[in-house]
Symmetry: C2
Subunit: 238 residues, 2 copies
DNA sequence: GGCACACTTCGGCGGGCGCCGAAGTGTTCG
DNA sequence: CGAACACTTCGGCGCCCGCCGAAGTGTGCC
């Protein structure tokens, strides 16, 4: 080692460099809703010209953070997978302590922020107070073990089975993973199980998306289901 | 939302920007050994002038990724905590797929790389084939559950107790966490338990550091202990 | 006290990157 | 077919950032 840099350093810097731009960061955060956005939607969201955003998308796709899907004159992009979502989440969670002051400044300037804190999706699973309530209920009922790590118990596996929520255990993705919540600073349920639960909650009408953002609202039917299946009191969701 | 960027985007970009420089990235990777380095050591390691590195350190400290400790005319820096190590690890793990080709090019150019793949520390816990062997042995003996997440079992807690390795469960840090291994692409044991085990392994002479890098070598005594306590065959460590 | 050493500050240089608007390509729709 | 639209490519501009060497500050050693 004559003083030259590590081979990995260049790769690490390049990957971080993809995120190290405010416009690209805004795109990645927007795409955390797990859906596909068009280039113009992202350009409007980020407040830059279409031509500028086109170049950004090119770099993000080339760097493997996004995948694209062309349909006619539209270019749809989405996060390349759960690993990318996890990466962005983790970076964002690390940022929060510093940004908290700013958030306090804006106070509850927007009702949108309040709705996000209340309940939202985090790529493909539930987050916010709703996500925390679910994770806590799982833990309290002995379905999820959080004291010595983060794993479903056998009772937890049975719960998914009896609830009729199938878990695909064939892939490489972990069955369950903890994901640090931005707003609550506590872990919620991610991984295959978290995604399956979220999908079921949306499909079964337990909660519905608010507007075009990531925020979700629990329906009356959802309150009944969460109370019956997990013992979550409706009050805890408000 | 008139088209202006999210408040979080600026923070995310700023954090990523700290890592998005090859010199700073090389420093962070070097500091993954969990020890404190002086500014000149890092400058030599990264191959830049002392003045250049001084500025980099200033930014990393200001950004909260490093903490510094002045001793006389030396400036010692280290990673600010396990969260930072985790962040860098995760980014680096994401990079690997792309860098693999390059690694294959250099082949086993350096024996140092082979030693690192064999066994090393990853901030404060064990990694490499050694780390994987330990995690696998834990799992095979029913001490660690990896199929439904990643958590110690009650038997696992007892194992630490009888081995005389204390676990501090008072802090905020999770007792156990999975950490994706760069070289093996499989999870190994991190968190409080991983750190305690690594510390014990070094203190008890189960393994020793090779040179000044992160690589470690299992001693004859270590082979006996790992065989007796975890049923790890010495052959699996070579 | 004087010298060696670790680190910091400063000015200056060069390169890279993000931004835009204008022009070009391909798609959809009337 | 022509107009509207989504996206891309290209020049050009300006700024920021990483680099260095030289000079300055503080510490430790003889």
């Amino acid at each position: 080692m004559t003083g030259r840099k590590d081979a990995g350093a260049a790769g690490l810097a390049a990957l971080a460099g993809l995120i190290a731009d405010e416009t690209r960061a805004a795109c990645l955060l927007a795409l955390l809703d797990g859906r596909a956005w068009t280039a113009s939607e992202l350009a409007r969201h980020a407040g830059v010209a279409a031509s500028t955003l086109s170049e950004h998308l090119g770099r993000l796709v080339a760097g493997g953070l996004l995948t694209e899907e062309r349909q006619g004159r539209h270019r749809y992009v989405r996060l390349a997978g759960p690993q990318v979502a996890q990466l962005v989440e983790e970076l964002a969670a690390q940022v929060e302590p510093g940004v908290r002051a700013a958030r306090r400044r804006t106070l509850r300037a927007s009702g949108a922020a309040a709705a996000m804190a209340h309940g939202r999706t985090c790529y493909d699973h539930l987050a916010g107070r709703l996500g925390i309530a679910v994770a806590d209920a799982f833990t309290a009922r002995g379905l999820l073990r959080q004291d010595t790590g983060f794993a479903l118990t056998d009772a937890g596996l049975r719960w998914f089975d009896t609830a009729g929520i199938g878990l695909d255990r064939t892939g490489r993705r972990p069955l369950v993973r903890s994901c640090l919540d931005w707003t609550e600073r506590r872990p919620h349920l991610a991984g295959v199980a978290g995604a399956a639960l979220c999908r079921h909650a949306l499909d079964a009408g337990w909660c519905v998306r608010i507007g075009s953002e990531r925020a979700v609202r629990v329906t009356a039917e959802g309150e009944r289901a969460l109370s019956a299946l997990l013992g979550i009191e409706a009050a805890a969701l408000r």
